[in-house]
Symmetry: C2
Subunit: 144 residues, 2 copies
DNA sequence: TATCTATTGAAAATGATTTTCAATATTACC
DNA sequence: GGTAATATTGAAAATCATTTTCAATAGATA
């Protein structure tokens, strides 16, 4: 059993929730890819393995995984929430290609530091930030 | 007549659109505040001066102002689009207080430069970016 | 003024996400 | 293993910001 399942189980026990096969399957499928899936995409994958799991259950599982720190929401501003692994994945920013939709995960410590000092300069206590750079990826730049 | 009205008029003429009193009023009210209003907030202000202007017309005016470079959309991730002046306002980022909703407009040239080089390192051609730092503003930090 | 067609406002539609609710499954306890 | 208490499920309905539809109206041009 992987660490993530343990974390979920611990959370479930601590909050008087219940272990269900639906949650187990949804978690495994979520963990099986590093893609940033939408609820709809995750539901489609889930249905391949178990056609009886409903849309709503997937949405509810996402909220649950978010609460126990396994998942975080990523908003690329197109009206669709996407989800990424949180456990074992440090903070990072995204370069988002507006041609093909692909994205690159990046981290630039000097930018992070400058953000800290920028906030401090304004008497602002930062808790989180969102940096997204939109543009054209290498591959899309080539295909004239 | 301010410069913004001229820009709108020029755009309207160039695209075979029509000047209307609704558009004129909505533009003036949009320009009268530096707040980042939502469509609903803008509509409420508009109705104070002219109660016959509909919701839909405000939405349509927003799209129009956006097309002629007078307005840009700001998405703080709460499901509501807000709008800010674009003409005469350079690019900037936002510090957003999650307690009171206020925000501070900031620009840090060194961060901008580092973003450029970050993109370049990944063969990525940036067109725009979004940097938002969420946290607690000075005033909200004080009120224990 | 006449004509063409862009604009308007109300109402309906959209689409992602959330809520409701009756049926079912899980857990703790006997 | 039963049994009761209650969390979970899935389908359908609701939500809510925004967009579309459509018939009536108004702006531009000649
Ligand atoms: Mn990511
Ligand atoms: Mn701003
Ligand atoms: Zn690309
Ligand atoms: Zn504040």
């Amino acid at each position: 059993m992987h660490k993530e399942s343990e974390i979920l189980e611990r959370y479930i026990k601590s909050k008087d929730l219940r272990h269900t096969p639906q949650r187990e399957k949804i978690l495994n499928i979520f963990l099986s890819t590093e893609k940033h899936l939408s609820a709809d995409e995750l539901h489609k994958l889930v249905k391949k393995r178990d056609s009886d799991i409903g849309y709503t259950t997937v949405y509810r599982a996402i909220k649950l995984f978010s609460k126990c720190g396994l998942l975080s929401e990523v908003d690329f501003g197109d009206g669709i929430m996407r989800f990424e692994h949180k456990y074992g994945h440090g903070h990072h920013d995204h370069l988002v290609c507006t041609k093909c939709g692909k994205f690159i995960e990046v981290i630039k410590p000097r930018i992070e530091k400058l953000q800290e000092s920028l906030a401090k300069e304004h008497g602002f206590k930062p808790t989180r930030h969102k940096l997204q750079i939109f543009g054209t990826c290498r591959r899309c730049s080539m295909k004239k």
